[in-house]
């Protein structure tokens, strides 16, 4: 179990991580989601005792990381696939890690086998592709057979096969009862692997919820209508007390009324419909909305000091705009 309490990191003026408090529970995959620059890597570095927090603390089973006597048997981490000496062979890279924690040499062969690098164990790491480097990093994380595993954007830049492999690996690790904490900037990735979701933006905690709840609360469902008889449709819906939003290109969106009811309504009034389709807003959109709000909050907080113009108030249609702005900032 990993517990964060008021974890904060400031780089000069920049609040990279701002008062994060959450818990990572064993036996499930916890997704750590946030756009680029949200502070995910910084948070993970602080969890591992690599960076000193400005305030707050991260504890692993109640201990600070530096207090762990045999860290590799507690936590395996993959922060950056390139965090190794390129001139050292895969085997020697793992061997020196194993020795530092008194892990037997035989275990090095085991993990090389697990990640499928036995064939290239004697080859230098600098000749490895991104995917092979990632596998070697994961082998290092698995060395101590730890109960907690931490991966920072493990699927970045991988080919579909590598992505598939990592997803399955994380799930199987969690099903063995291990704590798995994995970061990503892609909601779609999290939706596939994570059971629990921690979302941050601008270093702040935005959500800490189970994946199922997140999906239930955030996937807005609505019905899309298209008709050549615009005026009549608006009349009919108005009479029935159904609110409708024009979405351009002759389409209309209706929230909260099932498509069956709308279809029957149209039939009764002999309306011509070119489209009647139930829609689900994607989780990606929900994530963007969440993080766009954090940008907005941030901008308002900045306003007094910097004199920057506040961005237009967020509306449904502005999610993308907020997202763009977020990306420019980071």
């Amino acid at each position: 179990m990993i517990e964060l309490e008021g974890l904060t990191k400031r780089y000069g003026e920049k609040m990279a991580v701002n008062n994060l408090t959450f818990t990572v529970h064993p036996g499930i995959v916890t997704g750590f989601l946030g756009p680029n620059g949200a502070g995910k890597s910084t948070t993970m570095r602080m969890m591992l005792g690599l960076d000193n927090p400005t305030a707050g603390a991260a504890r692993i089973d109640g201990k600070r990381y530096a207090q762990l006597k045999d860290p590799l048997k507690y936590i395996g981490a993959l922060l950056d696939a390139k965090a190794m000496h390129g001139g050292r062979s895969a085997f020697n890279h793992l061997l020196c890690l194993a020795q530092s924690n008194g892990i037997p040499r035989a275990r090095v062969h085991e993990v090389l086998d697990t990640v499928g690098l036995t064939q290239v164990a004697g080859k230098k790491a600098k000749g490895f592709s991104l995917g092979m480097g990632q596998r070697l990093g994961i082998a290092g994380a698995l060395l101590g057979d730890p109960e907690i595993l931490m991966f920072d954007e493990p699927v970045n830049g991988l080919d579909p096969e590598g992505i598939h492999w990592i997803r399955n690996l994380m799930k199987s690790l969690a099903s063995q009862g291990r704590t798995v904490f994995v970061s990503s900037h892609l909601m779609s990735e999290m939706a596939l692997t994570a059971d629990h979701l921690v979302v941050i933006g601008q270093g702040r905690l935005l959500a800490d919820t189970s994946m199922a709840d997140f999906i239930r609360q955030n996937s807005r469902s609505y019905v899309r209508l298209r008709t050549p008889q615009r005026e009549r449709l608006l009349d009919v819906l108005h009479q029935e007390g159904v609110t409708v939003v024009e979405a351009g290109n002759g389409t209309f969106e209706v929230d909260g009324t099932p498509s069956e009811d709308l279809g029957e309504l149209a039939a009764r009034h002999q309306l011509v419909l070119h489209e009647l389709s139930p829609q689900q807003a994607s989780l990606e959109e929900a994530f963007m909305r969440l993080t766009a709000e954090s940008v907005e909050y941030h901008a308002h907080a900045d306003h007094a000091g910097s004199g920057a113009a506040p961005p237009p108030p967020g509306q449904g249609g502005d999610w993308g705009a907020g997202w763009q702005q977020q990306r420019k900032r980071s």
Binding site: N19, K73, A83, H85, G102, R107, A174, D208, T209, G316
Partner: protein
């Protein structure tokens, strides 16, 4: 707008996910949490929970335990690890190989050019001096790389994740490097001494005791390497640390020429002349006909200890 509510450390995320969203804009669907206890009262601990155990609660009961036995790690582990590290990279073989070739190769050339009587009152190891003047650069380079290459490649994060006791990692690096550097340098000097004494065993050659020059010469260049290792740890940049170390070796050897010009700076120039690395080695090898170099060696010990202390002091404080 006010600060969004700080989420409570939650005991049961499945039961009541705390909603820490920033205030949602009007019109957008507001995500609502599950059943929130009235007044946001702290939730009951898991055993008292009326809800059926969630996935992770079940998992907690059979949380993963590894079959690998847990042992406290110690300096011995760090030494084994650093030994593997240093012998598994090319730069070690290159720098030590070039060092050996310089000291022994130049030593042999010099020994071949000299006569028996040249060794009447100087030690047989003198031919090693010339190779050492160049070869010390190799040890400096290796010393710097032992620490700075970990920062350059990002390996340091992996290293410190595996061994959060950073002082232990640095101590192991220093010990392993020092032993290797000393064995190789003293060994090279010894070899040159043996070969020279074999080549010039005539009656004209004196029998000056040269065992001290092997130890002191090896110690001097090894300490320079350790100083470089400490510099690499503090500067975290290979080129920067090597340049700084070249400055330490070369500047005091060159600057006295200019310092001697003015009366005011002459005393400083003389001190530099006396204690620069090249002259220190010359003194150790009794080039001036008299034994010595002890105070030069002591100065280097002092400087190296200070640099190591600085490296340790900076080690724990800084982010990596």
């Amino acid at each position: 707008m006010t600060t969004p509510p700080t989420p409570q450390p939650q005991a049961q995320p499945q039961q009541a996910p705390p909603q820490a969203y920033a205030p949602a804009p009007q019109g957008a669907p507001v995500p609502q949490g599950g059943p929130v206890p009235p007044g946001g009262a702290p939730m009951a601990p898991p055993p008292a929970a009326p809800a059926p155990p969630s996935a992770w609660q079940q998992a907690m009961n059979n949380a993963y335990t590894s079959p690998i036995p847990v042992r406290k790690t110690h300096l011995g582990n760090a030494l084994a690890s650093e030994w593997t590290k240093i012998k598994s990279v090319r730069s070690t073989m290159w720098t030590l190989g070039v060092f050996f070739l310089l000291v022994v190769g130049i030593g042999l050339l010099v020994a071949g050019q000299t006569q028996d009587r040249d060794y009447a009152d100087v030690p047989f190891t003198i031919p090693a001096f010339f190779g050492l003047v160049l070869g010390q650069i190799c040890l400096i380079t290796l010393g710097v790389l032992v620490t700075s290459s970990e920062y350059g490649t990002g390996m340091i994060r992996t290293t410190f994740t595996a061994s959060p006791q950073r002082y232990r990692v640095l101590a192991a690096k220093i010990l392993i490097f020092f032993v290797i550097a000393f064995v190789v340098s003293a060994g090279s000097i010894l070899l040159v001494g043996l070969m020279t004494s074999g080549m010039h065993s005539g009656p004209e050659a004196g029998d000056v005791d040269w065992s001290g020059t092997v130890l002191k010469g090896g110690l001097y260049v090894s300490l320079l390497g350790v100083l470089a290792l400490a510099a690499g740890s503090m500067l975290r940049h290979s080129a920067g640390a090597i340049t700084a170390m070249l400055g330490v070796v070369l500047v005091p050897a060159i600057l006295p020429v200019f310092l001697m010009i003015s009366e005011g700076t002459r005393p400083l120039g003389e001190k530099m002349m006396d204690y620069n690395a090249i002259n220190s080695l010359a003194k150790i090898f009794e080039m001036d006909g008299e034994g010595g170099g002890t105070s030069q060696l002591l100065l280097l010990v002092g400087v190296t200890v200070a640099a190591i202390a600085g490296a340790f002091a900076l080690l724990e404080k800084r982010d990596v």
